[in-house]
Symmetry: C2
Subunit: 202 residues, 2 copies
DNA sequence: CAGCTAACGCAACACGGTTTGCGTTAAGGT
DNA sequence: ACCTTAACGCAAACCGTGTTGCGTTAGCTG
């Protein structure tokens, strides 16, 4: 019997889901997020939210953690270029939605996990990062399986994910999404891109 | 006589400087930023802060605006590659400092300026963005004056600034600053980079 | 040097978020 | 089916944030 374990399937699960849903909904509406508001929307008492998440930041971090950690599906178009293009477009579309953007802002505001964080309360932006990294690696692995020349995941992160997120976070208007993504991808699938790395992967 | 003008050299200047300093200090310590805390640290009454900046977001925006807007000096090494390398290294170093990083996080958390913002109260992340843009344009203009082939400022933002900020914000460890910056710059000063743009320089 | 005005300091106040104690409910174990 | 226990709901109190009115100070201006 593990005493420090939250009961799976208990009442908590429903509350958690409702609160997460409420957070996303409130976030999408653009209002300032407060615990009482979230609780009211979720049909849950504010005390429960305070007890479970302690803070708006923690609540946001947990929501972002769930939100960014589960979506691991990557497109399969038959070519690295097509995959990166589709994936990049999906990232742009996702980062353009208000609730995802707000979640991203909240994650970045908190920053990566500080020491002393309780178990299971990992950093949201770290979760987002590893989610994107694994997605990039999946795309690259598929391309390599096809015999294509592939860049490193780090390069994809630097030159595809980073610009997309940078533009979204800083409010830089993305001029013509397709053109932007294409430009980004062109620089990653060109032969020079793959041979530029001298360090071993990992 | 201009009635809506804050008196230059008045008492306000000292208060402004003290408050800005306090904001940076508090931010560097990682505590949650509140107006009373800032006021106490600055040796100023909280009322003054409320009257002048109205809100924590406004205070943050103004601080970031001053912090990111004044440092417009760009390196002059004699070549575009050298300039970008030096500038990128400076960005990495700056983004690594706790107070600057905290300011950046706060700026990103607030987001770009919402409609209805009073005059002079621009968004902090917008201020950071235009600051970086003007710096990039200065570097590129100097290179172009030397007769070098230069990429667009947008490309520099996407492939140099964005990765640096992305890594800093998401806590991705920058492996060997020099190597990172060099890799980034190589992709911007290569001849293929300049000819990829079809739009005329703005 | 005297008057003017804007900005600041102070104190009291109002509002909303957050904490706390206790009773209740609902899963899981026997 | 009963007991155990963790999580939830409720209500009241607490605390800090943000506001307002007025007196005071310090920097311009003639």
């Amino acid at each position: 019997m593990t005493p420090a374990m939250t009961r799976p399937g208990g009442r908590s699960a429903k509350v958690t889901a409702a609160v997460h849903q409420a957070v996303v909904e409130l976030l999408a509406e653009g209002d300032a997020l407060t615990v009482p508001q979230v609780a009211a929307r979720a049909g849950v008492n504010a005390t429960s939210v305070y007890r479970r998440w302690g803070d708006v930041a923690g609540l946001l971090a947990d929501t972002a953690l769930v939100r960014f950690g589960t979506s691991s599906a990557v497109p399969e178009t038959g070519s690295l270029r097509g995959d990166l293009l589709a994936w990049g477009a999906a990232l742009v579309e996702e980062a353009g939605r208000p609730e995802e953007l707000a979640l991203l802002r909240a994650a970045v505001a908190v920053g990566p996990a500080d020491p002393g964080a309780p178990e299971g309360f990992e950093s949201a932006c770290s979760a987002c990062l590893v989610g994107r990294s694994s997605q990039a690696e999946a795309v690259l692995a598929a391309a390599q399986r096809r015999g294509e020349e592939v860049p490193t995941a780090t390069r994809v992160l630097d030159h595809l994910v980073a610009p997309i997120y940078f533009r979204a976070l800083f409010g830089l208007p993305a001029p013509s999404v397709e053109v932007l993504v294409e430009l980004l991808v062109e620089r990653l699938v060109s032969p020079a891109a793959a041979q530029a790395t001298s360090s071993p992967p990992g």
